[in-house]
Symmetry: C2
Subunit: 349 residues, 2 copies
């Protein structure tokens, strides 16, 4: 009874199967009741570490963006930077794999070669993000930048809905309530005097925002499905294949959007120290997102990035002298209650 309870709680927490490889070569013995708590603890620890890493990287990302804007160095081409991010992630995955091959040898789970059946699904998230990023250029005909920031919170709802539909995982009613609160709280925290403009968004703008939210939610949930489909497969191999296609699709984006600029001014035009730091940060947070997908889930990812948004605002008070608004405090309160409710509302099975 005790054992069954712990197992179920774990499944609730994200991993579909139990045969996840144990990192750092600790190994694990045949499941026995006495062994379960230690394994659960190690899983919980790993889940916490990747979640905290994602939260930290996401907040420092936002801070780097503010810093780069303040420094007035925002003239590099975004598509080339995105391409470099994917390349760096690819390289980091390969480096991690090389180390693992050295210590553990090449096994069925960590070999780089793959089957058509395994690899066929990997381009899909990258393709979805490409379409979403292209749409982004058109939505600004209907919404201004602060309005777009507000509308991006629709991602929270779309991720929850698609997580339920595609991964067929259940959230309790309290957790759904928490998810609606997360969306409302994040939006409230971002309110400013110009936010009301977003209510004047024409129908086309709303439709595009919803489509973009669905694309982004679908890409996230689909990545989780791909990664979790083969729980014993090494995450670095899975990442390698995800990022290879990321590189390919971003190369296409350079050709579509910035071909002339790259030809005339060069690939690295406008790059600075901050740009380099941003690329490094994006690469690391990208890997953290994959880890969260493997060891936790999209819901944890959404909470992690939302809390990061709040942390960023608080840190910006000290770094850039930003002033926190009453709306921020109210939004932060609602987000905090949402985090509490998400864990209090765990399905009792």
């Amino acid at each position: 009874m005790e054992y069954r309870k712990i197992k179920d709680e774990d499944n609730d927490g994200g991993t579909i199967s139990d045969d996840v490889e144990n990192p750092r070569g600790k190994g694990f013995s045949v499941a026995s009741v006495s062994n379960v708590p230690a394994r659960e603890q190690s899983k919980w620890k790993r889940k916490s570490v990747v979640t905290l890493a994602l939260t930290f990287l996401t907040s420092s990302q936002a801070i780097l963006i503010v810093w780069s804007k303040r420094a007035g160095k925002y003239e590099y081409s975004v598509t080339t930077a995105n391409f470099l991010v994917e390349t760096l992630k690819c390289a980091l995955s390969l480096a991690a794999l090389a180390r693992i091959w050295k210590t553990e040898g090449v096994t069925e789970d960590n070999r780089l070669s793959t089957t058509f059946d395994e690899v066929i699904v990997y381009p899909i998230p990258a393709a979805l993000y490409l379409v979403k990023n292209l749409l982004q250029y058109y939505i600004f005909a209907y919404v201004d930048a602060p309005g777009y920031q507000i509308l991006k919170n629709l991602n929270i709802i779309s991720t929850g809905v698609l997580y339920r539909i595609i991964l067929k995982k259940k959230l309790s009613e309290i957790q759904w309530a928490a998810f609606i609160l997360l969306c409302a709280g994040c939006t409230t925290a971002q309110l400013n005097s110009r936010s009301d403009h977003v209510l004047q968004t024409p129908l086309q703008g709303w439709i595009m925002a919803i489509v973009m939210a669905l694309l982004s939610g679908f890409a996230g949930v689909y990545t989780e499905a791909i990664i979790k489909k083969r729980p014993s497969r090494n995450i670095n191999v899975q990442n390698f294949w995800l990022y290879i296609f990321g590189m390919a699709f971003n190369a296409v984006a350079i050709l579509i959007q910035d071909f002339d600029a790259v030809m005339n001014k060069g690939f690295f035009h406008g790059y600075s120290v901050i740009t380099t730091l941003m690329i490094l940060n994006h690469a690391l947070s990208g890997i953290a997102v994959s880890m969260v997908m493997k060891y936790a889930d999209n819901i944890v990812k959404v909470y992690s990035t939302s809390v990061a948004m709040l942390l960023t605002a608080v840190v910006s008070v000290f770094l850039f002298g930003f002033e926190l608004t009453l709306a921020f405090f109210l939004g932060a309160t609602v987000v905090s209650v949402s985090v509490y409710l998400h864990s209090a509302g765990k399905l009792q099975r």
Copy 2:
């Protein structure tokens, strides 16, 4: 088992004891299992009716206030109006009692005469409100009117805390979370471009706002304690004694604040049709509040008046051409989720 469950749920809903008189002379037979659902249904119905009445009266109250301001007729003395409200409530309670005496005769429960022991606590809520209303004049030295509207939401928290401490009724953790959300949601819905000023409130202002919230919360919770202490006592008798002291304390307020104005300009100076409607409305909502205290509780009262605030805003769009802000939609979403969580989070006993 079944019976015990229903009984407990009812206690949760508010009434301390079961020997509440059944209105409209339906009478109730000796409790038997088969009879319970009907009694519960009738209690639930009565609770719903008084709650809806309070919600409706509170929203129309706010609309009358806007209307009277728009009409520019806000020159009457507030203390005389308050005195008339108490007098009208007293008269309405007596009229209701007269009808009951005619049909049911004078009984131990509906006789007007009282003991010193019973009546000694009745002046307390009226005295607390008097102190709170006097403080209101001083807080404006530290906070502007929109800021005061924001700070008034502290009442929600103080009512919850005092309800727990004084009436010793438990709220579940989910219900506490819902209560924090109700406060945050109401405040969010009222945000406007000047709301951030409230963050600059000096310490004295905060202390006064908290003291006022405690006084108002204490008065509400104390009224509930008085009314519920004698569940079989007719509510109209209880109201009569509450309002008699309300009249007395408001007479004192006239002497303190408006004696000269009343002497020079007359008691009814500045009264108009709207003023009369407002007095009528305040009297009826005051009675509705007492009924909610008797048949439901302070928590229901707070939810009811919060929802009324949202309804008022929506109705004002049609009546006065107000525009709803994004903050309003976000706040209304949070309040709605809070209402859901309050009922979903009912203590399972």
